[in-house]
């Protein structure tokens, strides 16, 4: 349990091992390798240091990892910003508004109260006892704040910082006659300060004067990428020892992190971001039309999709393409009723827990596109939407953008006004797909959505709509399909899906869209991903140990807007 009582964190400041320096000297262009052979990263990479705001999920994970899972941030937090399809990118663009900071402040005070305000909890986290509980004790306060600060800031506090925060604690303790009250104020102030709320790249220098990311910044990048949370004790130790400035050091840590159970938490966060599962935060359905869609279903549907992905890609080290065709998933009792599936007796006797379920081989249920987590999120509250679903397939899973509709189009003129009651969605969309100015975009979106019409607004399978048979046939980039299962096969074959994962994962890891200089690396990474059997761990390792991910070159005061260089 990675709680505050971290041993051996008494040092402050940066310590560079001699060995680390020596290796650093060997670094330079061409020093980083992945699977051997000349690397595509030999070009100079000009990536500025950045600051990213903690996402809501990161905040929760950080608090849980540092203070224990029983400590929960209360209240609402400022919504994450989604930019260029990722919250991870939005985190690099957004700031904190006044009302947002109010919320962070309330959350911080609540957490500090939970951690230090109750005797039993306090005992677990305090490394010392104050001389008196009714007066200041700078030594004890300082000891606590040093440890807490290191974990919260993901780096040791500077001596000035430590002194300032200790003073906060002391002054408050004196004024209120309450040591722990004072310490709470210092802790909560730490938790609304910049180095906590933002993951900030700090730069130091290599021996040749070239700038590089400092050890702790590397540690943060690695842990937020792979685990969506703070570095653990071992990673911090490696940072302090300078190991993260060596290729071997980084690879060693990355391999360890890839085997850690925390990888699941990290990958859940990634897929949640990529597939926009946060839509479920505000998703509502009409209760009369879809009574099956209750709050538990909304919550569990998200979980189902994540479990399916993590099981396939992490636990079983599977082929990414299978996410479109896998028959196996995880359900619980309520979800099973939403899908109209009986729960096997053993699972039922086990209670309301999750059980593995395999759809029959001839079933149209096929991969994540036919799950509630996808079709329900991309539908209207009272009915389906082939266009929303098709657009989501293009944008979220193939990384292809669909232009906005043109201004000034009057759809009601296009529709056949003599037949206002269209029976199926295909009929309703017919005009969109035949009028030239609309068809251009609708043709690339609607066919996939129309195949998914076999699943209603809450992913219930159906063959008719308003009495008419649903036609689920279509084509995706030249590959024909007859139904949703065949759509899954078509997605599997489509190169864009794998390329999209590589791009998204890379963008997610750094919080920005890649620039032109990174194109060769990404092309290379994709190639190796394919050769390696489309396995996620290999790709994660490739990115996390790459020069692109680990280096930085400050571009002071420049505001370069980097062009989108997603590979195709």
């Amino acid at each position: 349990m990675n709680t505050v009582t971290v041993k051996g964190m008494s040092k402050r400041g940066f310590v560079f091992a001699l060995a680390g320096l020596a290796v650093a000297a060997l670094l330079g262009y061409g020093g980083w390798r992945m699977w051997g052979g000349p690397s595509a990263e030999d070009a100079v990479v000009n990536i500025p240091p950045a600051a990213r705001r903690l996402t809501k999920l990161q905040y929760t994970n950080v608090v849980s990892d540092i203070f224990g899972p029983d400590v929960r941030p209360g209240g609402r937090m400022e919504p994450d910003l989604r930019q260029e399809h990722l919250i991870a990118i939005g985190a690099s663009k957004t700031s904190i508004t006044a009302s947002g900071l109010e919320q962070y402040d309330a959350a911080a005070r609540g957490i500090a109260q939970q951690v230090l305000g109750q005797e039993d909890y306090r005992a677990q986290v305090m490394p010392c006892e104050p001389k008196s509980e009714t007066a200041a004790d700078p030594d004890c306060a300082s000891t606590f704040l040093s440890r807490a600060g290191t974990l919260l800031y993901r780096r040791p506090l500077t001596s000035q910082e430590l002194e300032q925060f200790t003073q906060i604690a002391s002054k408050a303790a004196t004024e209120t006659g309450d040591f722990y009250g004072g310490l709470q104020l210092a802790l909560s102030t730490l938790m609304i300060s910049g180095p906590f709320l933002f993951i900030v790249d700090n730069v130091d220098q290599q021996s040749d004067g070239e700038p590089r990311l400092d050890s702790y910044s590397i540690a943060s990048r690695l842990s937020f990428f792979l685990w969506n949370s703070v570095p653990d004790a071992e990673l911090l130790r490696a940072a302090e020892a300078g190991e993260l400035h060596t290729q071997k050091g980084v690879e060693g840590q990355v391999d360890r992190m890839l085997e850690s159970p925390k990888l699941r938490q990290g990958m859940r966060a990634f897929f949640s971001d990529m597939l926009e599962l946060d839509l479920f935060d505000t998703l509502t359905k009409d209760a009369a039309i879809y009574p099956a869609f209750s709050f538990d279903v909304a919550r569990d549907a998200r979980e189902q999709t994540l479990r399916t992905l993590v099981n396939l890609l992490i636990d079983r080290d599977g082929d990414y393409r299978d996410i479109f065709t896998a028959k196996e998933t995880f359900l619980n009792r309520v979800l099973a009723s939403a899908y109209g599936i009986p729960v096997p007796t053993d699972a039922l006797l086990d209670g309301n827990g999750w059980f593995r379920y395999e759809f029959p081989s001839d079933s149209e249920h096929s991969g994540i596109l036919t799950q509630i987590g996808f079709v329900s999120a991309h539908s209207h509250p009272g009915r389906t939407s082939p266009t929303l679903r098709g657009k989501a397939v293009r944008e979220l899973l193939m990384c292809q953008s669909v232009p906005d509709p043109p201004a000034g189009v009057d759809f009601t003129l296009i529709q056949d006004t003599k037949n206002p009651e269209f029976k199926t969605a295909r009929d309703r969309l017919d005009a969109h797909n035949s009028v030239p100015s609309c068809a251009g975009c609708h043709k690339i979106m609607d066919p996939m959505g129309l195949a998914l019409e076999a699943f209603d607004g809450v992913a219930r399978h159906r063959t008719t709509e308003n009495g008419a048979v649903i036609d689920t046939s279509g084509e995706l980039d030249g590959v024909a399909f007859k139904n949703a299962a065949e759509l899954g096969q078509a997605m599997r074959q489509n190169a864009a899906a794998a390329t999209c994962l590589v791009n998204r994962l890379y963008s997610y890891s750094l919080g920005r869209t890649p620039g032109p200089q990174e194109r060769p690396f990404l092309t290379d990474a994709k190639q190796r991903f394919v050769e390696d059997g489309y396995r996620l761990r290999g790709l994660l390792r490739a990115i996390a140990t790459s020069k692109a991910f680990l280096s930085v070159k400050p571009a002071p005061n420049s505001d370069t807007i980097v062009a989108n260089a997603d590979i195709h």
Binding site: S99, T158, I168, T189, T282, P556
Partner: protein
Amino acid sequence: MSVTNRLATRRRFLQGMLQGTAITVGLPFLECFLNGNGTALAATGKELPVCFGTWFWGCGLNPGRWEPKTVGANYDIHDELEPLAAFRDRMNVFSGLRLFADGKPFNPHGSGAIAVMTGDVPSAIGTSNYLPSLDNLIADRVGAGRRFRSLEMTATGDPKDCYSYRGGRVVNSAEPSPVAMYERLFGAGFVDPNAADFKPDTKVMLRHSALSAVTEQRQSLMRDLGASDKRRLDEYLTSVRQLEQQLAVQLEKPAPMAACTMPPKITNAKSDGLELESVKTNNQLFAKLAAHALACGQTQVFNVVFTNAISGLRKAGEPSTHHLLTHEESVDEKLGYQKKATWFLGEVISSLAVFLKELDSIREVDGTLLDRTLVYASSEGGLARTHSLENIPVFTIGSANGRVKTGLHVPCSGDSITRVGLTIQQAMGLPVAKWGTDSNETSRPIREIMV
């Protein structure tokens, strides 16, 4: 920045008082703590603070069914504006206003919403930087001395439904829960301006003083960052200073405000997204909260989103939402408009009336709270069916303590909607000569309503 200087003065002043003794006499009320307009103190005969608010709804109104037929005073209210009849003489209606897209890639609904609030049609939604919105420009001017610089609320249940832009890519988020808003406004941190005695809370003083440790990290925080990241972190630090300000306000005995009363506590938290009754209920609760917040001097600027630009407003049990209906419902041959879609518009404008009524129900020295407020009510487009940027409905309600004339219909055929925003800013005393970008840039305020 003048705000920083003022706060620095206050902080030094307050730090000198921190000796743990209870202070029963209020801190001296210094002029420098007031905002530029010179406010508060009805007791001394000075005017009560001027307030500004926005009320936004999605999917416009049907052209031809709301624009008054007569010009100037005593204009006719009909059809889609019918629910606002009681406010006719205290509101201004501007017809014929539009937005110019200038060939920029146009995000239906989205582009209009941003432009209506910022005067700028963004060149690419999602990647461009936004200009500060009207409410932020005004809050910069009047919000400094208040506990809250501005209050954002949404009746839709989604905190992202907010069109208050700080600039860059920083967007304020809206409070979706009236219960939480009540707590925020009138819970622990509320200092009643009419309370007989006042004792600054030691803990608040300590929290206020602790924030200097945060602001002093500025340099080290930004050391290695580029210009745009520096700006973002400066925005964060501005928010820290706003928190300092908020705490400072709590430490000062506020000037009494005769009309200030606490609203009834809100405990019902049920919300059903964009289901119509849920949205209307939230609107009413927020109206009450906003009214009391203004009357008690907690803020002078508010933003309400009734429905967002894409208006997924729905009636329980019906498969089609308001927005879907605007695109799919046939125009009724006899009526000449889409019947079901237009029904929603009636609900929207009635809800605006409900909101205004709450502001109006607070009686103050020379009228009601509504009289010293200026509400900017607008939508992101005209005819939703065609995503039209013409005939965008815009009203102002309230006179901001006589800073604008009211009761007028002003036809502004073909002009950009930014003329209204420019006029409002000038009326509120901002030293601006023009507003808006590209073809939406204007330097012509609407003289008809200027005093």
